[in-house]
Symmetry: C2
Subunit: 200 residues, 2 copies
């Protein structure tokens, strides 16, 4: 998605070989017009799948799940990172290790809002190690729901996330894939073709 790559080039801050900061327009301050455009692009890429629900994880996935939900006219659900006092009913859960924050947390979704009748598109802001997205994929599977695929705004193509998801037979679409970066330089690759392997 050219407009996104251009914006990353203009405003992204590369803090190290692995850390890219895009919080001026994606995940702290949010350019609502760009977020809507991102939502429409995901909707276009998964147009052949009958999606009934968008799934993401709090907090930085919410604006993109909302945008895709708007484009597809379906609700979205965001997984929570810890059990709140008001979340008393049964939940699906998965453990996720955050390499950015160096901590393992529990991701939970109420069983009321995900079930075998759902056809789910998972979206998030970043695909890097894939930890959070693998957790969401596990939850979709546990719920007996059908997974249409995973959409990531920015993929760090040099990290293991896509490989892990493809091993699980998950179709992955990223809008900007970084092949390499270092302070002062960033390279994007053409969107990789999705590899759907046969289940053994």
């Amino acid at each position: 998605m050219k407009v996104l790559e251009d914006r990353i080039r203009e405003e992204g801050l590369i803090l190290s070989d692995t850390v890219l900061k895009v919080d001026s327009f994606l995940n702290h301050q949010v350019d609502t017009a760009l977020a809507l455009e991102i939502g429409r692009e995901f909707a276009r890429r998964f147009a052949d799948k009958p999606i009934t629900k968008v799934l993401t994880i709090e907090a930085s996935g919410i604006q993109f799940a909302m945008a895709v939900g708007i484009a597809l006219q379906v609700p979205f659900v965001y997984a929570k990172k810890k059990k709140a006092v008001t979340q008393s009913e049964q939940v699906y859960s998965a453990s996720v290790h955050s390499f950015t924050r160096q901590e393992t947390y529990q991701v939970t979704i109420s069983k009321n809002y995900l079930g075998p009748e759902d056809k789910v598109l998972i979206v998030d802001d970043f695909l890097a190690t894939g930890a959070a997205l693998v957790g969401l994929v596990q939850i979709v599977s546990e719920a007996g729901a059908e997974l249409a695929g995973v959409g990531c705004v920015i993929e760090k193509g040099f990290q293991e996330g896509r490989g892990l998801l493809e091993q699980m037979n998950v179709s992955v679409e990223s809008l900007a894939t970084i092949s390499k970066m270092a302070p002062g330089e960033i390279y994007f690759q053409e969107p990789a073709k999705v590899l759907v392997k046969e289940t053994v």
Copy 2:
């Protein structure tokens, strides 16, 4: 906002005299069409103020800040609840006590995304004790930005939040104000008129 009150009556779960769960359509699973309608209603109520930025707090305010940002065609910023590794620059911060979670956390916003040039509308899902919103108002003041007001989706009118905000001369608009609730019953009040006091 009648459509919202009706939905709360239909789907809200009243867990106690103070805890209302609306996570089937507002803050876990999100009805995107309703969220957009909420955004348009806030835009309408603050139409006389020249707003340049919407401000909220992660996570459950994001969908409404996004909706208002769409309606007003401005960006939004969401305050973060703890300092992330990638958040190294200077931040505005405020301490907030969560009565739901029984913990005090730090709310932070990068100084890059809020300043004297901004005219800010703060939005959030709930106004109850007002702790989080008072923290955001303090940050807007610290940034030297102009505050257009605070918009809350649901106000618990029997708690102290509105009073605290009005003491700070803040204009508050709530889309559904609960005057009283208990398991099995809920009462809404007409939107209270905003009391803007003179600064002493």
